[in-house]
Symmetry: C2
Subunit: 322 residues, 2 copies
Amino acid sequence: MTRSLRRSRDVPALVEQARTGDPRAVARLITLVESGDELLPEVAAALAPHAGTAQVVGLTGSPGVGKSTTTNELVRALRAAGHRVGVLAVDPSSPFTGGAILGDRVRMQDHATDPGVYIRSMSSRGHLGGLAAATPQAVRVLEGAGCDVVLVETVGVGQAEVEIASLADTTLVLLAPGMGDAIQAVKAGILEIADIFVVNKADRDGADNTVRDIQGMIALGERGPGEWRPQVVRSVASRAEGIVDIAAAIDKHRRWLVDHGELRRRREARAAAEVEAIVLGVLRERMASLRDGTALGTLAAKVADGSMDPYAASRELLAAIG
Amino acid sequence: MTRSLRRSRDVPALVEQARTGDPRAVARLITLVESGDELLPEVAAALAPHAGTAQVVGLTGSPGVGKSTTTNELVRALRAAGHRVGVLAVDPSSPFTGGAILGDRVRMQDHATDPGVYIRSMSSRGHLGGLAAATPQAVRVLEGAGCDVVLVETVGVGQAEVEIASLADTTLVLLAPGMGDAIQAVKAGILEIADIFVVNKADRDGADNTVRDIQGMIALGERGPGEWRPQVVRSVASRAEGIVDIAAAIDKHRRWLVDHGELRRRREARAAAEVEAIVLGVLRERMASLRDGTALGTLAAKVADGSMDPYAASRELLAAIG
């Protein structure tokens, strides 16, 4: 798809086409971003002036809690309210295969013919800095294309998800009854990242317990007087129940962010994570590719056989790259 | 606990004590490693000659599949076979609280009075390079103390777990019936890291389906003629059933690693990840702390307001630190 985009003077034209809402231009830009094309810095430069115009909503949770169904219904609700919506479905947890699992994305085809919705699955194949760098760029593409809400859906919970959640203005954590108790949720580190808990499949046995457990954890959590208290919302996304409540909670959090100066703070933190990811990606390449005998592989062999300790190895490597 | 260890000339003495199997010395060294104490490089240097003597077994899986119970029974089986055993229970998924959840560690007290077993929960508080750097150092402490098997148990699945699994010679992925289907397992990226799948709680409904799904995925997976084909083992850890089969599968994989030269390759990869994590930790600190106006925070503010793009910011930062 990017084959026809060979020269950097094509970049501003492509960004201009995306600005007019051309879905093919949007798709090509996201492909550029995702694949870590060499034109990426120019794409980033062309998109920078449009940064910060969309509300970014993260949506995460363990496999099987109903993320795709919930996203699908949220998109419907946001469209009904007149928003232009972008959806990035991110699979950060399969570092080896380099391909997003499409599977339940199929349901998203509900919105396939709606020109006010862009839906895109993303993987981290080849991107310097991984999804932590690629995702915010993809958000900027969608902002540039006029989306005023961007939903970022990630599979599972874990460090990568925490990183991607930190890209959002508002983070929803989905749970379902019987998927593990509140202690497990704390273990998975999701309490700290959730602005809104959604107990989906709330028609199932155990929903009351799940809600009570989460509320108990929220009550126990330490927060200062000016800090946001996570909301708990119930839904049955498969029957479109509770979606209005989720949307209302997102709006409420958005207002809180603006009123407390938190929006700016979060976005600066997001930009810092993005810049850091790019820098670390470049430095990783340098570490791997040095040719003077201090490259990572050579030092690693010495650490593995016990002839050097890892701190001594890191000092040599740092001296060589920095 | 480390308060009394103020001078670097105490380090060799402490390592010597740990070598004799003194559990308090072992505990103090792991605390040093975990907290990222400034003496850590010296500890690493003193431990380096003892590297590579233990078999490192990783054990991961979603919350609720029975990791602690399985670990507990595996320890019992390994002790019966005459091994000295170390257990590191790692919680990588809560980057904010900086404390491992102890909860079900309590069950491990079965082995609390056994001098041939060291059990330790680890968190990533304060460690430069995080658990990816701290865990292999803790493994080295346990190797130094004469453990010939070290079990590294991690909560959940995700990038951090994948990283920690890459520290192991042999990685066990635990599943349980009804915890999500095979597609979800692929989504979580665990297929790629598993040397052995353990379907725990195999007395429950759906166990046959889970085993069949995993075997189907393994059959579909591409692997060369010399590559390991993941094994599938059933267990009911709460009744100590199937533990012998897990131990046999670990032994089989160990032999395969040695016969195919894979043990050395994996350990070099492990050392590379460790050195890289230390280097990236140091570089992260440098990025954050530069005082000439190019520090990460300053650049991030420009990226957030759209006056600079993240690639331009990363170039400035790289020029300043490298």
